[in-house]
């Protein structure tokens, strides 16, 4: 590996499993929000309705998978562990809580 490549690797560390899952969840959640705004306006669009139902199933599965591995995204969700998990993961406004867009 050249010096330049090594430097590049240091600057952009390999995304973690958490980053990867958070990114996939963020994508489907964004689709649901944007589709929701669209469907507020176009409530009879069959393509939009079908897409909403498909993506909402995907989002629920990804959210469950994420919360089981990396802790609750909502305070309301089931607590896995002997103590309270909600405040343990980083808060979203901290850089370390966020994945890198590529």
């Amino acid at each position: 590996m050249s010096k330049l490549q090594a430097k590049h690797c240091n600057q952009t560390p390999h995304p973690t499993d958490r980053d990867d899952l958070l990114k996939r969840l963020s994508i489907v959640d964004f689709m649901l929000l944007d589709l929701g705004l669209y469907l507020n306006s176009m409530p009879h669009c069959t393509h939009g309705l079908a897409l909403h139902n498909k993506v909402s199933v995907d989002a629920a599965a990804l959210r469950k998978q994420y919360e089981e591995k990396f802790g609750p995204l909502r305070m309301e969700c089931e607590n896995n562990g002997d103590d309270w998990q909600w405040t343990k993961s980083p808060w979203p406004w901290e850089a370390g809580a966020n994945f890198k867009m590529d």
Binding site: L22, K23, L25, S26, D29, F30, L33, D34, G36, L37, Y38, N40, S41, M42, P43, P72, L73, R74, M75, E76, W86, S89, W91, P92, W93, E94, A95, A97, N98, F99, K100, M101
Partner: protein, 194 residues
């Protein structure tokens, strides 16, 4: 009511501190065309909106604006991370530092504290929807001016995302206006349509 979700709508991951950029981005937190104004405007107007569809659009866009407020706050926080008093002074943020340290305070780029005078909630659904369409355009312009002034891709990416959302919201409010005009059975265009 609301349920908080412990993630940002779009990631903010800034590796280089830059208080100079924070000084101008704060305007989308608490400035005249910022996200706080947008959220309060739409979430207040929805109480007197007339159709269910339009109530939904105000409710849901108002909610999204709260998520944008959080993103802008995250950007300002990360841009001033680890900044010393000297760094703040070098960026022209010494007056801000005197009042707020490196805390997040809702103000414009020029230092004017957030005020409800920035928004209108008029009770006339047509007037409110025109206000909102103008507000989305003003926010789009502000994000474009910020993009003129900022080079760091870590900072530009979330700004580009927020700019795109202004465009989408403008479109949704426009559709909403057409629906409300039909509901009221009147078209109040005081300009000539071509």
């Amino acid at each position: 009511m609301w349920i908080y979700e412990k993630k940002l709508q779009f990631p903010v991951k800034i590796s280089k501190s830059n208080p100079r950029a924070a000084k101008i981005i704060i305007t989308q937190y608490g400035g005249p065309d910022g996200e706080l104004a947008a959220a309060i405007r739409y979430l207040s107007q929805r109480f007197t909106m007339v159709t269910d569809k339009a109530k939904g659009i105000l409710n849901d866009i108002g909610t999204e604006e709260l998520a944008h407020l959080e993103m802008v706050g995250a950007m300002v926080t990360q841009l001033t991370q680890g900044a010393s008093a000297a760094d703040m002074r070098a960026a022209g943020l010494d007056p801000y530092y005197a009042d707020h340290g490196t805390a997040i305070y809702p103000q414009s780029a020029a230092g004017i504290p957030w005020t409800a005078a920035n928004i209108q909630s008029k009770g006339d659904p047509i007037t409110d929807l025109y206000e909102n369409m103008a507000a989305e355009q003003k926010a789009r312009s502000t994000y474009e001016y910020l993009l003129d002034l900022i080079d760091d891709p870590d900072v530009r990416e979330p700004i580009k995302f927020l700019r795109q959302r202004e465009v989408v919201h403008f479109q949704r409010f426009g559709e909403c206006l057409a629906e409300v005009e039909d509901y009221l059975g009147q078209r109040r265009h005081f300009y000539k349509k071509v």
